[in-house]
Chain length 337, copies 2
DNA sequence: CGCTGGCACTCTCGGGCTTCGACTGCTTAT
DNA sequence: ATAAGCAGTCGAAGCCCGAGAGTGCCAGCG
């Protein structure tokens, strides 16, 4: 629906605007390399593009800036993720060759890597615990009425929950409960463990042990997926792309709410997109922002997602390739462990 | 060295400037309640205060704004931390009555509380692990050559380290090592555990077990205090106090470096201060910021510190009282556990 | 001697005005 | 269809000017 020339012109406007943040006039476009028509012709086409909603004019005698629809077209016909620069891909390679063990540290470092690649804010959402199996469970009495349950998952993640008891429990009882709990849930996933009906196991237990077991299982089931691990880096870089402190403050307020950030990314992925532009993010406060997302795959299963958040006038090609490459490498690195 | 009236005038300038962010003229000061002299007299005194370095003039025909020295005097003679408003202290009370267990969650929530009280960025540095004793240690084999060591500390904190082995180890060996490790370090502090000489325990162990033990002890000693837990909240609030995006970006860059933040707070405390103003923070990028800090005490020992970061024109009295009250309550709450 | 009122001076801020330049849209010629 | 030219629009920048806020200083008063 957009003929060849109009597409070229639109592309030129978008790239120029991304670079300069200034409205782009017909003269600039006409003098650009890919366009071989006069500025008058460009003007006609730009008027058409504006009528179709791809461009907008801040005021009469100014150039044009892309609308969300304009960015969307640009991104879509951009096609594949493109290639990373040599320095960048070198940076990715050395990063992943050096990294090892310690999942949290690694995810946190990954967010730093991604933000340093793109100069936007990077978000890394850790793997869902639901798919990992429980490797070990331990109960540690911290004080007579406070017991800490520590789960080690096959992914290497650790989940801890404190359990408050209504009556004192000595070490013997706690240990007995721990042993019993181990036989019950080790090897299962968190999801299946939390669905164990605590009433089906009353028999054959001493009352004290049963109390602890029931409390432990309740805690497991209780705060489902309450701690997705989210790592956000590079906010200072991203902030520099905006010019109103007000805007910045609103964006930071979003980023402070980890739950919102997670669902933001997942909403985008659920809609089958890898880029959400402006209001497409579904959040009014991010009207001037775009999000680039990719899931990463561990052992054949989609485990989590990573993404960057930047201004709508973002370097989409770079961001897309950086996100794609990092997601890929991250998934592979996590699969080895 | 500052007579009564000059002090009053200085105080009036500072409070007014904190409120309005506008240079304060002699007329305003003269009409303020505490000052009963004419504006001419105020003018004379303000000139003197400027000569002594307490005030500065942006330009000739403008009012005066406080210098760092001016703020310093203001803060010092402010005396005690002052009182919190009723709403605020109510907020603190309900927060700490509701909170329980789960240290990390609690520290993170505390930083949110503190930022919501002050509208500045709040920093909460978790307790040092060095003083806590080891309650339990567990080794979990994730894969043949990867073992995860999980320590539970008496504070309820968890420390995990992954250990990479050069040879495969089966569960039996891992378990044997875990048992031996438990007898070695449970009950000790992290510091003393990490100072165990791994060569003194070769005797009587199977070679495989010894390898794991040595690796585990090495890991313990290795990354000393590498994970102070730092929780930062309310950056979006703080940002709103500034008007240049550039400044904001630099401040955020500081806050992204957790190590820097921790040492920032500790430097201030080490100098015996509870407030650092502008360059007193020791960081050029924070020239327009001030920090208010307080340590918190758990079981009679200084365990960690909390603080807020805001603009130099911060509401010092409110910040001081908020930080003091929260530090106090936090210490008490953590002591119970 | 300290305080005050008065006065002249300085400098920023905002409005109004003009100029400049970057665009556009349209019309006409090829 | 494309190009060229031309008139028109509108913001940005520069300028002037007056208003206002504030200062410093001086002379007089208690």
């Amino acid at each position: 629906m957009l003929d060849e020339r109009k597409a070229t012109i639109l592309r030129a406007v978008v790239t120029e605007y991304i670079e300069t943040a200034q409205p782009v006039g017909s003269g600039h476009v006409a003098s650009s390399a890919e366009v071989n028509v006069s500025s008058a012709t460009v003007r006609n086409d730009m008027a058409a593009l504006e009528a179709e909603g791809y461009l907008a004019q801040p005021h009469t005698s100014a150039g044009r800036i892309p609308t969300e629809k304009g960015y969307r077209f640009f991104v879509d016909q951009l096609g594949g993720p493109g290639k990373l620069g040599v320095n960048e891909s070198q940076q990715v390679r050395t990063f992943f060759s050096r990294t090892h063990g310690e999942m949290e540290q690694m995810l946190s470092d990954t967010s730093r890597l991604l933000s340093s690649l793109t100069h936007y804010a990077a978000v890394v959402v850790g793997p869902q615990h639901e798919v990992a199996t429980i490797k070990s469970v331990q109960l540690v009495g911290l004080s007579p009425r406070l017991v800490l349950a520590v789960l080690v998952l096959s992914s290497g993640a650790i989940e801890k929950h404190s359990i408050e008891l209504s009556a004192d429990a000595d070490d013997l009882i706690v240990n007995a409960a721990a042993v019993r709990l181990s036989t019950l849930i080790v090897g299962q996933t968190l999801a299946s463990a939390s669905s164990i009906d605590s009433h089906s196991l009353d028999l054959g237990e001493s009352a004290d042990v049963a109390i602890i077991l029931r409390a432990a299982l309740a805690v497991l089931g209780g705060e489902h997926r309450h701690d997705d691990q989210v790592f956000i880096g590079g906010t200072s870089d991203m902030v520099a792309s905006f010019d109103a402190v007000r805007t910045v403050s609103e964006i930071l307020r979003i980023l402070e709410q980890q739950l919102v950030v997670v669902s933001l990314l997942e909403d985008v992925l659920d809609r089958g997109l890898s880029v959400a532009i402006g209001r497409e993010t579904g959040n009014e406060a991010l009207a001037d922002c775009s999000i680039v997302v990719a899931p990463y795959v561990v052992d054949g299963e989609t485990a989590g997602s990573i993404g960057v958040l930047g201004p709508t006038r973002m370097h989409y090609d770079q961001a897309l390739s950086a996100v794609a490459v990092v997601a890929n490498r991250l998934g592979r690195t996590l699969s080895e462990g």
